[in-house]
Point group: C2
Chain length 128, copies 2
């Protein structure tokens, strides 16, 4: 949320401007949603720091920052299931990115096409 009275508030610039001003959280991260550019399926959600964004832009392959491993990683670096990024979109307050990508294989490390392979009903999960 924003304040109209804060002269140091960049929210208007962030929302309406043409400059990329990612709003990193305290850990230096923004959220990144990956959507299959062909099927429209949401494949996964991960986090990116400044370096992950730069590496993704430079290579065209999705890079993320692992909070648990505390390091940069390229999606598919071990499995080969890379994500070829066709477009990067930015949300209104620039704290989230949407990567439109072509997956080379299953996006999920479990082998599922998408990490979102279960639906919630009450407290129970069942396959989509």
């Amino acid at each position: 949320m924003t304040s109209d009275t804060d002269p140091f508030d960049n929210s208007a610039l962030r929302e309406k401007g043409s400059a990329f001003m990612p709003k990193f959280d305290a850990a230096g991260l923004v959220s990144a949603v990956v959507q299959d550019v062909a099927s429209g399926r949401v494949l996964m959600l991960a986090f990116m720091n400044r370096e992950a964004i730069a590496c993704t832009q430079e290579t065209g392959l999705a890079h993320f920052y692992s909070r648990s491993r505390q390091r940069l990683w390229q999606k598919g670096e071990s499995s080969g299931n890379v994500l070829r990024v066709k477009e990067i979109r930015v949300d209104c307050d620039q704290d989230a990115l949407l990567l439109l990508a072509e997956p080379a294989g299953p996006a999920c490390h479990t082998g599922a096409t998408s990490c979102f392979y279960r639906q919630l009903s009450g407290e129970s999960l069942s396959p989509v």
Copy 2:
């Protein structure tokens, strides 16, 4: 990421089980992506705490937790642009949710259909 040797690691249960075991971060939050169930468009990304998940399940209307305002909010509570949640999906490690929803109006507070209304090229943003 998980450890095969940690006996207290719930990762296998989280990935393969049928029990909802959300993995909240240090702030008690999981990420939530909202996708238009009809168009497939990714509309927004926000955060949910336990209460937001419960309120969403009870009412069928998307509720989130605002990190900046530090309170629960119902999407559309002031604008009327509620999100009617048709399905909630959970990702492999249960730290992200995907809400498949019918939006009552523009999802973005700027009036845009989706919060992701700009694409990134180098350091510049342009309308999608």
